[in-house]
Subunit: 268 residues, 2 copies
């Protein structure tokens, strides 16, 4: 097995594991990083989570998530998310931009709103030392979750701002299909905030959000993508983030063992 | 209601309607064109279908479908499909290119195979007077149905061949999300083989193939897309093609009435 220095477990992969057990499980498994979610952090307590992770010697590799710029209260909510990331010493806040309003059809307007919204958040994020990471979601989520549908489009937004302020998420699940994948990863040099991996398995389940598989179980060839990410200068954390009901129904320590066993396939 | 000169009902929209009833139903409703599927045509008989449609004064606007270039026997099967289109006087054979092989991960190789396969079919198609139409399918189908995932990619393939030989399908359902949509429709000038419409409704059902909605029921803004298709010089048939179980469970003549009532929203 390759070394785990860059390995991070996104908590969503073992979402039924309460935070203290997840942190202890990472430590026991030699996993040095963890990606956290705001809801879980809030439930356990922000300062308490920060202390828990710090005392365990773990690093918080990202916080999920800000965004949803069409929702009421998005500005304050995103500022809070930035503050939470800073408290957790998470270098990155992942932004899922939100879809169209109910009955809405103007995707161009929604996309302009995303760029404008991010612009309003940049000063606060930069002051807090938190990089905003625009995540392109797979186009099947364009209407209801995220109008940013390609890495190129995420870069079009990020490039309006300084590289340290706004970057992009490279998540294999969302972008593996893109004919412009390697060209856009190269373009992302200096803008990759976090690299996330999981596999594309077919058929997708009824809840499309939960169609992700362990690395190696699906149709994504990871090594060339990881090589391209490395060639773009990214040598940071690689988060394994899998939403899958049957994985959630598996004992979490067993899931971590599986994820570790697949790590060599990532090629990081 | 706008005039129906360019209106075509794709038979898949009323798939439980046997061919004679579908043809009679189109005539009764003043629908001048129909898009056919090979399986239905074969079941009713090729020559018999050709006569049925001709005698009714209908035009076959496209035949679905060739493609699936990874399948055994694809070459002979596609040649047969071309011959069937010619017999039906269908100007266009729609090509769904096929996904990855079971367990396959090399999407680039699969894409190269599509272009090569089409090249082998062009002489026969041109001799038969049938335009091959490369259809980009939504990226959610990339692994299992069609590695051609964007209009730009379909054009990259089509542009290797003469414009009369190989074109593209512009189907709102598959490409509405694309940030490069309007740029690629403009690029498609002279290459648009057929324009198909249906709406994107959320949430998608368990079988993602059946998630399409009547024009006006979802998140797609049709008029600007139709305008762009027109500006690209396309003034041919507009097929309404909807896969949706609840629409299939509706009496077909009622479905045709609904489709007609939504026609003004298409802006054709």
């Amino acid at each position: 097995m390759r070394q785990l220095e860059r390995f991070s477990l996104n908590h969503a992969t073992t979402k039924n594991w309460p935070l203290p057990q997840a942190v202890a499980g990472c430590v026991a498994a030699g996993v040095p990083g963890i990606g956290l979610w705001r809801e879980e952090v809030a439930a356990f307590g922000l300062d308490r989570t920060a202390k828990l992770v710090r005392d365990a010697g773990l690093r918080v590799t990202s916080l999920c998530r800000g965004g949803f710029f069409g929702a009421d209260g998005w500005f304050d909510d995103n500022r809070h998310a930035i503050d939470e990331a800073a408290t957790l010493s998470a270098p990155v806040l992942v932004l899922v931009s939100g879809g169209l309003p109910a009955g809405g059809r103007d995707v161009d307007a929604a996309r302009r709103r995303v760029a404008d919204a991010i612009g309003t958040l940049v000063p606060h994020a930069s002051a807090a030392g938190v990089m905003l990471a625009v995540e392109p979601l797979h186009p099947m989520f364009c209407a209801d979750r995220c109008v940013v549908a390609t890495l190129g489009q995420a870069l079009d937004i990020a490039e309006r701002f300084p590289p340290k302020a706004v970057g992009v998420v490279v998540d294999t699940y969302h972008i593996w299909w893109d004919p412009a994948l390697f060209e856009q990863i190269a373009r992302a040099a200096g803008r990759i905030s976090i690299y996330q991996v999981c596999d594309w398995v077919v058929p997708l389940p009824e809840d499309m959000l939960l169609g992700r598989g362990h690395v190696g179980d699906g149709h994504i060839e990871f090594a060339p993508i990881t090589d391209a990410v490395r060639a773009a200068g990214y040598d940071g954390w690689v988060e394994v983030e899998i939403f899958n009901q049957s994985i959630w129904d598996t004992p979490p320590d067993q899931t971590v063992a599986t994820v570790k066993s697949r790590w060599p396939l990532v090629g990081a």
